[in-house]
């Protein structure tokens, strides 16, 4: 393998990794605050893809506006889903399994809804920006650079919100001790709903950016949510920075790994890495070792 090819693969890995990181970060945010695994996360991603397809590819809305509107729509739908399902179950005893069942149910429902609304055909979305960046032998489409830039900007904004704003403090406090947070005046229910919506919004951003690269279809969320689970395990369950680092790590290892083997090995590499992690460091990169 030449140095240029290797470098190209690393860059591709970083770009793909930024998408894994976005997906994983949303999942980690939701798990961290509510202790639920959101199995419908891939379908919020899918809805984001279809909304961009509808607005940008069909209605020719400006791409920036299309991405913003799609993300906002997914966040609203997610907030509604949270209030109608998870919120009710969180109040009950022994809810851990029922939230898995209900988010799986939502996942199946949304897949079939998309199938009924848009059909099973793969729908393609044009690139937001045309052209290719060329430096010497090194070539990279501007669309991919845009994907990375948007992902980094969104994650940095989210990290800043968690670190510096009142809302962010409330999310972190609720995640670390819900009772103590309630006592100091944090309305946990509202925080849960908003966090769920924000997590889904991160998935929608990922979908909006990836829609021109992969095609849009009702099952597009499945491969991504599986990778998001891997990322969350790598980073440490519920850790936002862990999911981001885990996402980039997975992207790079996958991209380099498939050039050394072949693309059929992609999932083997991802899960092999996860199993190796569970073996030597089961609490993940940023998780806390439990005694």
């Amino acid at each position: 393998m030449t140095a240029t090819l290797f470098l190209e693969q690393v860059v591709n890995g970083i770009i793909l990794g930024s998408m894994y990181a976005l997906m994983g970060a949303g999942l980690a945010l939701i798990y961290g605050t509510m202790r639920i695994l959101n199995f419908a996360h891939g379908e919020f991603y899918m809805l984001g893809g279809f909304f961009v397809f509808f607005l940008f590819a069909q209605q020719h809305v400006h791409p920036v506006l299309a991405v913003v509107l799609s993300t906002a729509a997914v966040a609203l739908i997610a907030a509604l889903v949270q209030r109608l399902t998870v919120d009710i179950l969180l109040k009950r005893e022994g809810w851990a399994f029922s939230t898995i069942a209900v988010t799986l149910g939502v996942s199946v429902f949304l897949q079939n809804l998309a199938l009924a609304l848009w059909g099973e055909r793969f729908q393609s979305v044009p690139y937001f920006v045309e052209g290719i960046l060329q430096v010497g032998e090194f070539r990279l489409p501007w669309q991919r650079i845009l994907i990375l830039a948007v992902a980094v900007a969104v994650m940095a904004t989210m990290a800043a919100v968690l670190r510096w704003t009142r809302f962010g403090w409330a999310v972190r406090a609720t995640a670390q001790d819900p009772e103590a947070a309630a006592v100091v005046g944090v309305p946990a229910r509202r925080i849960h709903t908003v966090t769920f919506a924000l997590g889904a919004a991160l998935a929608a951003v990922a979908a909006a950016m990836l829609a021109p690269v992969f095609a849009v279809n009702p099952w597009m969320g499945l491969p991504l949510i599986i990778k998001a689970f891997v990322v969350v395990v790598l980073g440490g369950l519920g850790s936002f920075p862990g999911a981001i680092v885990g996402g980039f790590l997975l992207g790079i290892v996958e991209a380099v790994g498939i050039t050394l083997t072949s693309s059929e090995w992609r999932d083997v590499i991802a899960f092999g890495m996860m199993i190796a992690f569970l073996w030597v460091r089961p609490w993940g990169l940023f998780g806390v070792k439990e005694r």
Partner: protein, 234 residues
């Protein structure tokens, strides 16, 4: 100021509190003493709404607190320092303390209250940037009390504030309770130790198996035959 009357609490089918009635007057320090598992914590959790009462009445200055959600209690002037500190371990000392002023009613006076609690516990100013989870038990208790005071409560409740602390630290916390009370804040605390409970409170209640069996002035409680016989081995 605080009136609890006929309070019953059940966890599922198991009743843990029976007909609890107690009061805390303005500016009073009141102790609830009882052995492990007698239901002390549950009384405080019921008052602040973390557990639901199946019967009874809880009122603050005549205003019923039933139906006020826990996250709104800071606005009513009620604060609770939970058992075993319960800090936010991944947040710094300063972030923990400032979280105590999260309720909208507390935001305007956050700065002056921060200054006050840091004068009560000077170590908090030195440790502002440290992660709360990495402090010793005594230091964590100071952060927890400081956090509880940041909402500017009229009633500060403390669930076993001396649990697991070295005697020197216990002395400091006792001293702090006195200083908090001197500011006109009423204090209601739980404790298992008879002396710690009743020698540091104006009035006290003795709780056994979820029922109040005795009440009286703090020092009188120490002299009571029943307390002496059962808890002091006299």
């Amino acid at each position: 100021m605080l009136e609890v009357a006929g309070l019953d609490v059940k966890y599922g089918d198991v009743q843990v509190l029976w007909d609890i009635s107690l009061t805390v007057g303005t500016g009073e320090v009141v102790a609830v003493m009882g052995p492990n598992g007698s239901g002390k914590s549950t009384i405080l959790k019921a008052i602040i709404g973390l557990v639901r009462a199946s019967a009874g009445r809880i009122a603050l200055d005549g205003k019923p607190l039933a139906g006020v959600p826990t996250h709104a209690m800071a606005g009513e002037g009620v604060s609770l320092v939970l058992e075993r500190r319960r800090l936010f371990p991944q947040m710094t000392v300063l972030e923990n303390v400032r979280m105590g002023a999260f309720h909208p009613s507390a935001r305007g006076r956050e700065r002056e209250r921060l200054e006050w609690v840091e004068s009560l516990f000077p170590i908090l100013r030195e440790r502002r940037g440290q992660l709360a989870g990495r402090m010793s038990g005594g230091e964590q208790q100071m952060v927890a009390i400081a956090r509880g005071l940041m909402s500017g409560p009229r009633l500060l409740m403390m669930d076993e504030p001396f649990l697991g602390l070295a005697p020197r630290i216990v002395g400091q916390i006792v001293d702090i309770i006195g200083r908090i009370n001197a500011e006109g804040i009423a204090v209601l605390f739980n404790e298992q130790n008879v002396h710690l409970s009743f020698s540091n409170a104006h009035r006290g209640y003795l709780l056994e198996s979820g029922r109040i069996v005795l009440e009286g002035a703090g020092l009188a409680m120490l002299e009571h035959e029943m307390v002496k016989r059962v808890y002091l081995g006299a």
